[in-house]
Assembly symmetry: C2
Homo-oligomer: 160 residues x 2
């Protein structure tokens, strides 16, 4: 079973948009989540750091929420990019999304020291708005479910 | 205007429950959110680190989600503690909550370099379950709203 994303959409974000604490490849202090296709679903793998605990033995919910957040925006970007005829191994710049809303249900405590796998199912609800249902697994156990509504980043958002 | 929480509920959590990456006073790598009363509402102040960005100029949504999360559990703890007759400046150990669910609506981009203020309104929906509505302000501007459902931590959760 593949436990690594080969072609991540975040690898293709332009440098100016690659500083996200969650998924920016240039943010060395961040989580550097990487999201790719797994058939018609999307996947992000992440191993939490030892400090990322809620109480000893269990992962902090804010880390799970962060994983769901960036997995959601990355999945939306993958989906619109594919709709436009591109895959993340193309050189073409992908569309960049921001999170409109995020929700997480904590199904069971997430054990520490286990590779997490976020799996996304993307639905287009408007040409510029996508809904991503996210399941987070630890060693095959469903620990959290979430939903992200992601919208195409407004041009004004990155204006300097 | 007071911009600091004098008596935080997290200051009273027992050591074993003070390692949370969001609000554990013993987790030196974490955010160390501190939540206290402000009249009948609750408040947490937080200055994001420079790395905690989404894109340059704006705070990462996962940090906002983390703030909402711990502000929610801390507020629930404050509320049940007060119901039991105690305030966070008492020596009495407060009840500890875990997050059942978390939602965040990102109302507008949150500017970097600004002290964030989370304000909570707590509602008891069951003797062991509290709902906390959270508003997150940056310099007086409402940037995000959220909701946390927090439940009293099951005894099994901390079992070693």
């Amino acid at each position: 079973m593949v436990q690594k994303v080969e072609c991540a959409i975040q690898d293709r974000y332009p440098d100016d948009f690659s500083w996200c604490y969650g998924c920016g490849r240039l943010n060395k202090e961040g989580h550097q989540f990487r999201t790719g296709w797994d058939g018609d679903q999307t996947v992000t793998y992440y191993m939490p750091e030892p400090d990322h605990k809620a109480i000893p033995g269990f992962v902090y919910g804010g880390i799970i929420a962060s994983l769901v957040d960036c997995h959601g925006t990355g999945s939306a970007s993958l989906a619109l990019h594919r709709k436009n005829g591109f895959e993340p191994d193309n050189e073409e710049l992908p569309p960049r999304f921001v999170t409109a809303s995020l929700s997480v249900n904590y199904v069971k405590p997430t054990p520490e020291g286990t590779l997490l796998k976020a799996v996304g199912t993307v639905e287009e609800i408007h040409p510029k708005k996508f809904k991503v249902a996210v399941d987070v697994f630890a060693d095959g156990d469903l620990c959290a479910t979430g939903e992200v509504v992601a919208v195409v980043m407004p041009a004004s958002f990155g204006a300097k």
